[in-house]
């Protein structure tokens, strides 16, 4: 079966126009990333070739896998531009809200890429091809969560990159301490329920069931998202032969050609968050937010680049 249907699947989920024909746009031709040292060349292997230069991940905090608290100390307000939200039922929480234009060059170029891949739902041409329901394209949300541990530990950060009307908007709901988790869960469940499609990486087995379990544990009423697309399985179909693994960071390096400069490793995230709650030092929390943002951007780019 030709994997070229993947992006179509995503688009259908986004537009809810099952069976509607959409013009196929080639990801390689609309490649907006000039800094990429090696482009995805479908000719080399079926879809892609492994680039050894982009090989090993850099893990600055991986020595002995022991979390080391930061030496510098800054407060949350200094570190992150955000506002406090007040949920009517669940109380306060914190959100960082930015449009792609404020998030730097990578974000804007990804926005362009996504727009060219899925068309601009806000434009008149897209409205014209919106399909039999006649509904215009709605919102799609890229989702990635960060948790305070394994098992059923609370979730403290729900990152949502929203694609609406051709614009990418970032919403990162953050629990500043453990008591704000219900509000974070409530806000994100509401947002996800309002979206037409949720796109995740491994979200079928992790992010969405986890959020659902946390909703159950905190008592928030769970509303399942209208459509859920897990990009991991699509990515596996495309790139599993060419890559050693299909981790998001591998794909980010090899497919998108980006590397992260100062990333916090995934295993250190819970300890870093507990450290933040204990001390109020947001140095590493800033990195966690950045890590989450990078994951979301890669997610969006992958969705656009899937053949």
């Amino acid at each position: 079966m030709a994997p070229t249907g993947d992006r179509d699947l995503i688009r259908r989920a986004m537009l809810r126009t099952h069976g509607a024909e959409q013009p196929e746009s080639d990801a390689a031709t609309s490649e907006p990333e000039p800094a990429s040292p090696r482009k995805a060349t479908p000719a080399a292997s079926p879809y892609f070739a492994w680039n050894p230069e982009l090989g090993e991940p850099r893990q600055p905090m991986a020595q002995g896998r022991r979390y080391e608290p930061p030496t510098r100390s800054i407060t949350l307000d200094e570190a992150v531009r955000g506002v406090e939200l007040q949920h009517a039922k669940w109380g306060p929480s914190f959100v960082r809200c930015d449009v792609a234009a404020d998030l730097g060059r990578t974000a804007t170029s990804i926005e362009t890429l996504v727009r060219s891949a899925f068309g601009d739902p806000g434009s008149t041409s897209s409205r014209a091809t919106a399909g039999p329901t006649g509904r215009p394209a709605q919102r799609a949300i890229f989702l990635d969560i960060e948790t305070t541990g394994l098992g059923n530990s609370p979730v403290f950060l729900v990152g949502m990159l929203e694609y609406d009307q051709g614009v990418l908007t970032l919403n990162q709901h953050l629990a500043r301490d453990y008591s704000e988790e219900p509000a974070v869960v409530a806000w994100s469940v509401e947002a996800l329920a309002g979206a037409d499609a949720v796109l995740t990486f491994n979200g079928k087995s992790f992010d969405v069931p986890y959020l659902r379990a946390r909703a159950a544990a905190t008592g928030v009423l769970w509303t399942p998202p209208a459509a859920h697309v897990d990009l991991l399985h699509m990515a596996r179909r495309c790139w599993a032969d060419a890559l050693p693994d299909c981790k998001l960071q591998t794909l980010e390096r090899q497919v998108c050609g980006r590397r992260r400069a100062e990333d916090i490793p995934g295993w250190a995230v819970p300890d870093a968050y507990h450290h933040f709650v204990r001390t109020g030092n947001a140095t590493h929390l800033e990195r966690i937010l950045e890590h989450n943002l990078q994951d979301l951007l890669t997610l969006a780019e992958l969705a656009a680049r899937l053949p």
């Binding site: 541990g149 059923n152 530990s153 453990y178 008591s179 659902r212 379990a213 544990a217 507990h274 204990r278």
Partner: protein
């Protein structure tokens, strides 16, 4: 056929020599059936097909309690169909509403048993579509998911709930929100530390279920204990209705106390071996037409009885066709099922089991039980005896006495068994040390509200404050939140010993034939050991504890192996409580012990004597545990010493006797305890009795609380023993070499009874001044007690960070212990080796004395009297015979040599005595 016939058969047997010391009869009881109307029709049909109809009155009573949503506990005694009542209650709950039920059993085998029988019951009642099953740790992920997403009736162990369900409770939302019935089988099995953990777990479970909107009823069945209602309340936090009127019938029950005859004039092993005796009894009973179950304590003894008995019966030697089988933990599930089915079908005439299975086994129609040794508690005794005897027939129970103080005491005093009320089950769910761990779990599961703290007892707020100070939880507003990335449920278990299983693989066929817990593995299946299964012998080729695998091969040998090792308290970690006792003091606290397996003996079947002894090299294990220790005052010991008695031997004798008699006071087994004298940071005369389980099970604490009763009883037992200077029945066996062997302390012989008595008499202040005094309780105010508790809890938390279970360590220098022996040295006669070492010790002593200068060589030393005259040491010239002590010299030649012994020149001394 009745018990009388069987007893006559035993009396008429060739091996009978007056072993029966007492016969006790319990009269028969008529059944009380339940009225039919209360029973739902589908269940009625199911019971008709399974032949369980009509129900007894108490069974219906429990079901009706469940239907009217009231908590109940069934305490109707052994063999009254308690488990089947619980299954009926569960099925009747399934009939009406769309609800879920959870059944908790203490062991995996009884979970499976419940699952099999429930499946049949539900199918018979037309409820075949109810998704149910036993949840185990090793089950396939798909099955587990099916249970989680659709299951209505789940049977599992508390350990699975603690580590599997609770950390993931949100994924179990469907099940928990409909949980209507919580069933706890074998309530009496939750004793000590396990019970304390269970009590907290049930509170956590009910709390989480409450969050999802469920308020389940709790139903349970309790074995024979005196305080079922109290136990239920301790374990669940709820007051329950007790059903204690049994409607089940029972035939005449006859109990026989059987003391093996004295066949040798030696001081130990004088009586005929209890295992052989039990096998003979079993064979005789089977021949007389009574299907029999034998209970013995160890896995190996269960195998030996099965083997001896089937030899006695002249069975075919192939497995699977014998009429007697062993049945113990470690067998594979299909094998167990096969044995149970053969028992039910009646094609198996006898089974030899370990007490681990006293609750789980489905016995069908056994007529007699043979118990090797008193199991330690009346509850367990009745439970094991109750496995045999049909409702409409007579039942016989033969208790074979072992050669231990407690058993011999019971043989002499049958009123201890039959004239005594049942034990009260002691569970303290509010034990602060247990509560602290569970508070962490509770905070992890859901934020702990201020109002919920009362669930966990009076120490909860202190424990929470300690957790908060250590950064484990964080208080925000009125709630405590879990504040680390650890999963606390995985940091500790409910039981102390829950190690991984080591599969035992047959080298020739590649099949896994059984498995053992990794902590049992080292002493039982080391290289060279004989592993027994179905009475067959397998030789162990290799044990790899790192990879957790053991290879064996089938080989017929005519011996089994007995491991020997030593264990000692290494150091005291923390004194938790201290009180004066008589003229000395008594302590309770944390200690670290070490134990190792140093050698094993090959013992031919049907003999009690080792044919040969072999060394085995295994790593030393550390064990963090709890101990009670008492310290006799120094002046008393000097007096005893001046009287010419050996103080060290006396202390060792007290330790042994106290440890062996403790099961009469505390619910424990002698095998759970060890004793030793002195350690690196205690007074040298401290006598330790410590638990052989990681972190302890509360036995030592109970012993501490009752020490004022225990020690007088020990004194009595030693005084009334028939021996003159000490024997294995009172003060102990001559310890084998390398079992806590220490020449300096005069070990390696039967301890001196007179020394033990002298010390005890002085310690107990002539047997009058032993009131129960706990100075911490008396002198310190509430605040001081709270502060000291806080300190202890902190220590506990720190200790939990350290390795939790026995673990191998690299020993540096062995300070007090001899080098591991070479295999050749072990096979040489004991006396000569001892004499050699003794000679070395004497030399060393002389050297030390001379080096210290002032002391005269014949000056009195702790526990040692110098045998050579002082002037000869000082003046005699050196002679060449001095170094003539060799291996093979006997004691007489040693004495000759000693008489001629001369002091050594200083240059030689250093060379010869440096280890």
């Amino acid at each position: 056929m009745g018990a009388e016939t069987w007893i006559e058969a035993l009396r008429g047997s060739p091996f009978y020599a007056g072993q029966i010391t007492h016969i006790h009869r319990v009269p028969a009881r008529a059944p009380v059936y339940a009225a039919e109307e209360g029973l739902p029709a589908p269940l009625c049909a199911a019971l008709h097909t399974s032949g369980e109809y009509p129900l007894y009155s108490h069974q219906l009573e429990l079901m009706q309690l469940a239907q009217s949503r009231r908590d109940g506990v069934l305490a109707t005694g052994v063999d009254t169909g308690k488990s089947s009542s619980l299954r009926l209650a569960a099925s009747s709950a399934m009939l009406g509403r769309d609800c879920c039920a959870l059944i908790l059993c203490p062991s995996r085998s009884s979970c499976l048993d419940h699952a099999v029988q429930l499946e049949a019951l539900l199918a018979g009642a037309g409820l075949g579509d109810v998704t149910m099953g036993a949840m185990r740790g090793e089950m396939a992920a798909a099955t587990r998911r099916r249970l989680r997403e659709e299951g209505r009736l789940i049977i599992t162990t508390p350990d699975m709930v603690h580590a599997g369900l609770m950390p993931q409770h949100a994924r179990w939302q469907r099940f928990l929100s409909r949980l209507d019935l919580l069933i706890i089988d074998d309530l009496h099995a939750y004793g000590g530390m396990f019970g304390a953990g269970m009590g907290n777990l049930v509170r956590r479970l009910l709390r989480v279920a409450g969050h999802y909107g469920a308020r389940p009823t709790v139903q349970s069945a309790c074995g024979p204990v005196a305080n079922a209602a109290e136990l239920m309340e301790a374990l669940t936090g709820r007051a329950a209705h007790v059903i204690d009127q049994s409607g089940a019938p029972s035939g005449l029950r006859t109990f026989v106390l059987w003391n093996p005859p004295i066949i040798r004039s030696t001081r130990r092993k004088a009586r005929r071996g209890a295992l052989i005796e039990a096998a003979d009894i079993m064979a005789r009973l089977i021949t007389a037409g009574a299907p029999t179950i034998a209970f013995s304590k160890a896995k190996i003894s269960a195998e030996l009885i099965a083997r001896y008995c089937s030899e006695e019966l002249g069975d075919a030697a192939s497995a699977g066709s014998r009429s007697v089988e062993a049945y113990r933990a470690g067998y594979l599930q299909p094998e167990r099922r096969a044995i149970e089915q053969r028992l039910l079908a009646g094609s198996l005439a006898g089974v030899s089991a370990t007490p681990a299975l006293e609750n789980g086994i489905r016995t069908g129609s056994l007529a007699a039980s043979v118990l090797v040794g008193y199991p330690g508690t009346l509850t367990a005794f009745l439970q094991q005896a109750g496995r045999a005897g049909r409702a409409d027939g007579e039942g016989l129970c033969v208790l074979v006495g072992l050669e231990t103080p407690a058993n011999q005491y019971i043989m002499r005093h049958p009123e201890y068994l039959f004239g005594r009320p049942l034990e009260t089950a002691s569970v303290d769910p509010h034990n602060p040390f247990v509560v602290m761990g569970h508070l962490r779990c509770a905070a992890h599961e859901m934020p702990m509200e201020q109002g919920e703290m009362s669930l966990f007892g009076p120490h909860a707020s202190t424990a929470m404050a300690v957790l908060e100070a250590q950064g484990k939880v964080r208080r925000i507003g009125h709630s405590w939140y879990h504040a680390t990335s650890e999963t606390p449920q995985h940091e500790f278990g409910l039981r102390s010993m829950d190690g991984a299983d080591v599969p035992i693989q047959d080298r020739d066929t590649g099949q896994v034939i059984g498995h053992l817990n990794e902590y049992d593995a080292q002493p039982l299946i080391h290289e060279g050991a004989v592993y027994m299964q179905h009475g067959d012998t397998y030789l162990v080729d290799h044990l790899d504890l790192g990879r957790k695998v053991c290879t064996v091969h089938r080989e017929d040998v005519d011996y089994y192996t007995q491991p020997s090792g030593g264990t000692d308290v290494n150091h005291i970690d923390h004194v938790l409580r201290r009180k004066p006792m008589g003229s000395g003091e008594c302590n309770w606290g944390e200690v670290t012990a070490h134990f190792d397996t140093t050698h094993y003996s090959r013992i031919p079947f049907r003999s009690l004597d080792a044919a040969s002894t072999h060394a085995v090299f295994t790593p030393t294990m550390w064990l963090e545990t709890m101990a009670v220790w008492f310290v006799a005052p120094e002046p008393l010991l000097s007096d005893v010493r001046r009287a010419g008695l050996d103080v060290m031997q006396g202390l060792r004798g007290i330790g042994y006797a106290a440890r062996m008699l403790l099961p009469l006071f505390v619910r424990c087994d002698t095998a759970d305890l060890s004793h030793s004298v002195g350690c690196s940071n205690s007074p040298w005369q401290a006598v330790f009795i410590y638990e052989r389980l990681p972190r302890g099970l509360g036995y030592s604490q109970a012993a501490y609380d009752r020490i004022h009763e225990v020690l007088p009883a020990v004194y009595d037992a030693i005084r009334k023993c028939e021996c003159r200077t000490g024997c294995p029945l009172c003060v102990g066996k001559p310890l084998r070499r390398f079992t806590t062997w220490n020449v300096e302390r005069g070990e390696g012989s039967v301890p001196d009874k007179r020394a033990s008595m002298a010390i005890l008499k002085g310690l107990l202040a002539d047997h009058v001044a032993t009131p129960e005094i706990d100075n911490e309780r008396m002198t310190e105010n509430a605040e001081a007690v709270r502060l000291s508790l806080e300190r202890e809890l902190k220590r506990r938390l720190e200790r939990q960070r350290e390795p939790k279970l026995p673990h191998a360590i690299e020993f540096g220098d062995r300070l007090e212990r001899p080098e591991p022996p070479s295999p050749a040295a072990l096979t040489s006669p004991d006396a000569s080796t001892r004499s050699r070492t003794r000679a070395g010790f004497d030399r060393e002593l002389v050297r030390r004395l001379r080096r210290s200068g002032a002391a005269e060589p014949h000056a009195e030393l702790p526990g040692q009297r110098l045998e050579m005259p002082a002037e000869r040491v000082e003046t005699s010239p050196q002679t060449p015979e001095r170094s003539a002590i060799r291996a093979g010299d006997d004691l007489a030649s040693l004495a000759r040599l000693r008489a001629r012994r001369k002091p050594e020149p200083p240059a030689h001394e250093t060379k010869e005595t440096t280890p």
